[in-house]
């Protein structure tokens, strides 16, 4: 298998915890992984992304080439579109639809949703709402991970194991919340997927 993922969001939203869980999963499965992150200045509310590559063969480049990503996984709708040049022709976008507005020229939300729809292969829904429904608003990144799972090429059950392990030090309640958010995202993804 080989899956190239662009993780996107705004500094402070927590895309890196998704990367951590997928990294732990890949390591356990004996797969190769490379994950380039952004630290420093842009973490202060700027646009952030991480290139995550998982493969059964050794991986050369830490960065994904243009047109090479299988999925864009984004916590924010405009940020999903920023990385369109990296998406392959058969690639999918999985994104939260809740805008993070910290600039004055943020685009019109309706036009933004329309543009996302135009890309063809997109799973987009209000992940904050789903997270609130089944867990806490803070677990929207686990809803996103669940929603992206059908496109990643890893079994949901092994990702669940990695979630359990990642959060186990924070207590059983936190583990259960994150698992619930993950499962809700996964279920919703199957129904929204067009």
């Amino acid at each position: 298998m080989k899956t190239d993922i662009i993780l996107a969001g705004v500094g402070g939203q927590g895309i890196l915890s998704i990367a951590t869980i997928l990294g732990a999963t890949a390591l356990k499965e004996g797969l190769h992984l490379k994950q380039a992150e952004v630290h420093g200045m842009s973490q202060r509310g700027g646009d952030v992304q991480s290139n995550l590559r998982i493969s059964s063969n050794p991986i050369a480049s830490d960065l994904i080439p243009l047109g090479g990503a299988d999925i864009i996984v984004s916590l924010e709708p405009m940020e999903a579109l920023r990385y369109l040049p990296y998406l392959s022709k058969e690639g999918w976008i999985v994104t939260n639809t809740v805008p993070f507005v910290n600039i004055d020229n943020y685009p019109d939300t309706e036009a933004l949703m329309k543009r996302l729809e135009q890309t063809g292969r997109v799973v987009a829904f209000d992940m904050d709402a789903t997270a609130k429904e089944v867990a806490t608003p803070r677990s929207s990144n686990m809803v996103l991970l669940g929603a992206a799972t059908p496109f990643i090429g890893l079994e949901p059950s092994i990702i669940e194991d990695a979630i359990r392990k990642t959060f186990e030090s924070k207590g059983e309640a936190i583990v259960e919340q994150n698992l619930a958010a993950f499962c809700a995202g996964l279920a919703k993804s199957e129904t929204v997927k067009k």
Partner: protein, 535 residues
């Protein structure tokens, strides 16, 4: 027994050093090098062993301390970002002259594309004129392996070894096979050769001759280094010299195997015999290196050589798999083409970084911009840290940013030229890094400048490391000689804005030096402290 782990390039190098018998780590935080020291600080074995792992005031003090440890026979490392090496340049260049008594690694992390820096300088040039060998890992495993290798190399030739990292390795995670056990530390011992440690002209002249000879030996060593290899190919129309992570982008293009000859370089000085062999082999040779054209410059008289200087690869910014693809395609006249990628939709707007909501620097800038409205032509000299973001909207408050500490000294020079008001704004960690000495200059001339130290009790931009001046800033200022009546302190709070403005106006109107310390804990570290308390 070896264990597989996922590590950042920074972390892999730090773990490699710990497992190779490191006794002390020294550093000043700086993106992308910060995680090296943080890893040592968080390593339970290192803590149990009591390895030195504290932040220093700046890169110069850090490097000198690491050399002092090496003088006593213990393995040491010092890590910094590329511009930090400018600060440490004096001891770095001279440490090649003294030599090292025990393995010493000088880690410099370059930031091509300037993700979080003010320039793209390439640390290899420093090592070149200092006559110091360089290791440049191309992946996380090499970063791990090169720590032990680097210590051994340093001890074999009795010279510090530079490890050059770049952002895309420092901040990229990959799997690393690492020993589970920490190796033993060196025994405490003094150098056998004592003269070279006292760099007086008579001693230095003797040592420099020796150093030049050592550098020749290091070049021979690079010819047989396990990290440098020449792999012949089946198609000799084109050959490659690929260094560091440049090698990865080349390999990415040829998943089925590279048909062309390639010389991979990860240890310097450049192995010239291997380069000559490749030049003999191939019709054209492309140099793919991250950063400035260092190897390519050495070969600029070779008509066959192409790369950044000849316009095949971009002269600025970091390499990408795409820029390397384009260069290779150009050299081969289009045999690798990919479909055109989609464009970024026009509605996607830039999202620049900003000061956090609730950050104390915001209150300082709000009060300062209000106060300065009363003057015709105020100038504000900025510095390096989160508060550099005061340049952007909504404050647009800064006129210059140069390097660590320059706010105070540039304000002084401007005041010397007749500028008034000349305001310097500097953070607490930057002040103790390089602001104190400049302040002394201003004190000695009672320069009519207003220095605002925006103290958030931490090194914020790099993620909240200890700041060396915490709790001592007033004493430092008074000790340097700031007049007590012109050393003012206030809390950086929204409710204090009027008072801050008033205080700033009073001090700007004072025809001499003033320091205003405006203080409130960074909200990121405050949140972390609160969460810790709750647990």
């Amino acid at each position: 027994m070896k264990l597989k782990r996922l590590l950042l390039g920074d972390e892999a190098l730090a773990l490699g050093a710990i497992n190779a018998g490191l006794s002390g780590a020294y550093a000043y935080p700086g993106t992308p090098s910060t995680e090296i020291m943080e890893f040592v600080q968080g390593h339970s074995g290192a803590r149990q062993r009591g390895l030195h792992a504290r932040w220093s005031s700046n890169e110069k003090t850090a490097l000198e301390s690491a050399l002092g440890m090496s003088f006593c026979g213990k393995r040491s490392m010092v890590s910094m970002k590329h511009v930090g090496l400018n600060v440490a340049a004096d001891p770095f260049v001279n440490s090649a002259m003294t030599g090292a008594n025990a393995g010493m690694l000088v880690i410099s992390a370059d930031d091509p594309s300037m993700h979080s820096s003010q320039n793209e300088q390439d640390s290899r040039f420093y090592a070149d004129f200092a006559l110091v060998p360089v290791l440049e890992p191309s992946n996380q495993q090499e970063a791990y392996d090169m720590a032990a290798y680097g210590f051994a190399l340093s001890e074999k030739f009795r010279i510090p070894v530079m490890v050059r990292l770049v952002t895309r390795l420092s901040h990229s995670r990959g799997e690393v096979e690492a020993e589970e056990e920490m190796g033993p530390e060196n025994e405490f011992h003094y150098p056998a050769e004592k003269r070279s440690w006292v760099l007086m002209p008579g001693n230095s002249r003797v040592r420099y001759k020796e150093l030049v000879k050592i550098y020749d030996d290091l070049r021979e060593e690079a010819e047989t280094s396990p990290f440098n290899f020449l792999k012949p190919g089946s198609d000799n129309r084109l050959g490659f010299i690929a260094s560091g992570i440049g090698y990865n982008y080349l390999m990415e293009l040829f998943p089925e195997g590279l048909p062309f000859p390639v010389l991979k370089i990860s240890q310097y000085p450049v192995p010239e015999k291997k380069v000559a062999e490749l030049l003999e082999m191939a019709d054209k040779v492309m140099v793919i290196e991250e950063g400035q054209p260092f190897i390519e410059k050495m070969l600029k008289n070779e008509a066959k050589v192409i790369g950044k200087l000849s316009g095949y690869l971009p002269r600025t910014g970091e390499l990408t798999p795409d820029s390397v693809r384009e260069a290779v395609e150009k050299a081969l006249q289009g045999t690798l083409t990919l479909p055109e990628p989609e464009a970024v939709p026009e509605m996607v707007m830039p999202r620049p970084p900003a000061l956090c909501q609730g950050c104390g620097h915001r209150d300082v800038y709000s009060a300062m911009t209000e106060a300065l409205k009363e003057f015709e032509s105020p100038k504000v000299f900025g510095d390096i840290g989160c508060y550099t973001l005061g340049y952007l909207k909504p404050f647009n408050a800064i006129d210059t940013v140069l390097d660590m500490g320059a706010s105070i000294t540039m304000a002084k020079g401007a005041a010397d030229a007749g500028q008034h008001p000349a305001v310097a704004i500097i953070g607490d960690s930057t002040f103790t890094h390089s602001g104190m000495t400049g302040l002394l200059d201003a004190i000695n001339e009672d320069s009519p400048i207003t220095v605002i130290i925006s103290d958030n009790l931490t090194t914020g931009m790099t993620g909240g490391q200890d700041s060396q001046g915490t709790g001592k800033l007033e004493q430092i200022c008074l000790g340097l000689g700031v007049a007590p009546e012109h050393l003012r302190t206030i809390g950086s709070l929204p409710n204090n804005r009027e008072e801050m403005k008033k205080m700033m106006l009073e001090e700007i109107n004072h025809k001499g030096l003033s320091v205003i310390i405006s203080r409130r804990e960074c909200i990121q570290t405050a949140r972390r402290h609160a969460a810790k308390k709750k647990q």
